[in-house]
């Protein structure tokens, strides 16, 4: 876990790490990774991953429209919106 890795994952996470904390964060993350590295002590070559404790099949929906028009409510909770759209600073493509 080095400076470069931390820069990459903080970019992927859209988090800024200010310089004064940087070293501490690098250390913390390294310790945590070192700590979880003990997982390598056990052989799992034959073991299927377990993503969820419920090994069941998912319930699914029928194809029915149930949603109401929540436009007003939703735009109200938005940090920035006009009467029709959520707004963000102009994205240039």
């Amino acid at each position: 876990m080095d400076k470069k890795t931390v820069t990459t994952i903080s970019y992927l996470s859209r988090l800024k790490i200010d310089n004064e904390n940087e070293q501490k964060i690098i250390n913390d993350l390294s310790n945590i990774i070192e700590f979880v590295d003990q997982l390598n002590d056990v052989d799992t070559s034959e073991i299927d991953p377990l993503a969820n404790p419920l090994e069941k099949t998912a319930k699914t929906r029928k194809d029915i429209v149930t949603a109401k028009n929540l436009k007003k409510k939703l735009l109200e909770v938005a940090p920035s919106a006009n009467e029709d759209y959520f707004l963000v600073p102009r994205v240039v493509e």
Partner: protein, 475 residues
């Protein structure tokens, strides 16, 4: 130096379900902005997705029609990235267990056929829409489309020209519309595609570096974008530079592709199994039902038209190639005994009118009912083919009823021999010179007499009868 082009397509097909892939939000196109957004589409804290089973059924139809493997256990993964029209900060897709794998589809280019293999077709949710040009300094986000089910169809890199790419796209479009899993409406973005293009020296084994062209949504642009990109890559390499692996945006106005590297930097989607969704399992019974209810596909129709109805191959191909044409043909044929005549008119006069107005047959004024009756009136001798043309033109304009037109304009053909004979005699009496010239051996003049009779009857005389009568009288 000669180059080979290697192309792979990723086609995003909007599945025509009523509700979204993971919510009860409506998928209807063209609604007022942000009115079809459910709590789930919005990605509010604490909401949970529930998969729409119908989307699986539609995906499976595609799989069966392309002879693919159906994974009866398929699961969802998350693809993580930030964008304003991606409400949750991740897209739910199928990475490790797609519903459909290993199919293929036949394409036809000018003079040859080719089989293109389909790597996989998986379900995923569509994003919303970002509107960049409507507000000063700001981008507007409309989430109506967010969560609409997509079937992403990924081809093997086996396509070797822009033409083949277009043919492949057209074949997929034809198939999904026949399967009734997508409306195929390109203008509304119901089908969009990303194209991977690379070039390599002829004969080289390994592939060159590819560029991905994003979000192209018309046949024309696919061809242009690919051809531009091929030239660009060849130029690069021949100038000793090299192709970078990157995403490029096709600009249809400038007809060029340009780098979107800005968005690419250090991208890592961190796929992992979606912990909110357990695997979906499709039972053998469900699979069997879908198989049994699979609609008839173009190739099957073509063969049936030729063998059972007796159309010639060219007719059968044209009619079976479009769902609306095939529907019109089959509906009209049920109104008359002369399906072959239906086909003749469909590929002849009607296609001509369609081209002239540049519309699809289901947008025209011609109903299958009316069309069937028109053909019936020709084959039962009520009107002549010539009259039928004018009737068709009137229907085309006014959508009025064929029989009414025939009655109101008195277009019924004259069969009665005695009436025709009287007219013929008048014509002969009033043209003595032509008669003597004909009898002197000028056979061509026969047509002249026929013409005169048609003139007298405004074309309503039954031509066959007229011929016989004239032959008699001019002996």
């Amino acid at each position: 130096m000669s180059w080979e082009t290697v192309i792979g397509l990723e086609i995003h097909v909007q599945l025509s379900t009523k509700s979204k892939l993971f919510s009860g939000g409506s998928t209807k196109f063209g609604a007022e902005s942000n009115t079809h957004v459910d709590l789930i589409d919005m990605g509010l804290p604490g909401v949970l997705p529930v998969a729409n089973r119908e989307a699986f059924y539609k995906a499976i139809r595609f799989g069966l029609a392309t002879g693919a493997n159906i994974n009866q256990t398929s699961s969802f993964d998350r693809k993580n990235y930030f964008y304003p029209d991606l409400p949750k900060g991740y897209q739910i897709t199928q990475m490790t267990q797609p519903i459909v794998e290993k199919g293929s589809i036949k394409i036809t280019v000018d003079d040859y056929d080719k089989e293109i293999n389909i790597t996989r077709a998986h379900l995923e949710e569509d994003a919303g829409k970002s509107i960049h040009d409507m507000f000063e300094g700001e981008t507007g986000v409309d989430l109506n489309r967010a969560g609409t089910p997509l079937l992403e169809i990924v081809s093997e890199p086996e396509i070797s020209s822009a033409k083949e790419a277009v043919a492949y796209f057209k074949a997929i479009r034809q198939l999904v519309t026949f399967l009734d899993i997508c409306d195929g409406n390109m203008a509304q973005g119901s089908m969009r595609c990303d194209v991977n293009v690379s070039i390599k020296k002829s004969g080289d084994k390994e592939l060159g570096t590819r560029a991905e062209l994003k979000n192209i949504n018309s046949f024309k642009f696919i061809e242009k974008a690919i051809n531009f990109e091929i030239d660009r890559q060849i130029r690069l390499i021949e100038n000793g530079e090299s192709v970078v692996q990157e995403t490029r945006l096709y600009d249809s106005e400038k007809n060029e592709t340009r780098s979107m590297r800005s968005k690419e930097e250090a991208n890592d989607y961190r796929y992992f199994p979606c912990p909110d969704l357990l695997p979906v399992i499709i039972s053998d019974k469900e699979l069997k039902e879908i198989k049994e209810n699979l609609p008839e596909l173009p190739e099957e129709k073509e063969i049936r038209y030729i063998n059972e109805i007796g159309l010639d191959e060219s007719e059968a191909k044209i009619i079976s190639s479009s769902k609306t044409m095939a529907n019109m043909f089959e509906a009209a044929s049920s109104k008359t005994d002369d399906a072959k005549l239906v086909a003749k008119w469909l590929v002849g006069d009607i296609s001509a009118l369609l081209n002239k107005d540049n519309i699809d047959i289901d947008e025209s004024n011609l109903s299958a009912e009316n069309f069937g009756i028109l053909i019936e009136r020709i084959s039962d001798g009520t009107i002549s083919g010539k009259i039928a043309k004018s009737v068709l033109e009137e229907v085309w304009e006014t959508a009025s009823d064929v029989d009414e037109i025939i009655q109101s304009k008195g277009l019924v053909q004259i069969q009665d021999e005695s009436i025709l004979e009287d007219i013929a005699k008048k014509v002969i009496e009033s043209n003595p010179n032509q008669v003597s010239a004909y009898k002197a051996g000028k056979d061509k003049l026969f047509g002249f007499f026929v013409g005169q009779i048609m003139k007298e009857t405004q074309g309503k005389a039954n031509p066959k009868a007229v011929n016989e009568i004239l032959k008699d009288l001019l002996k």
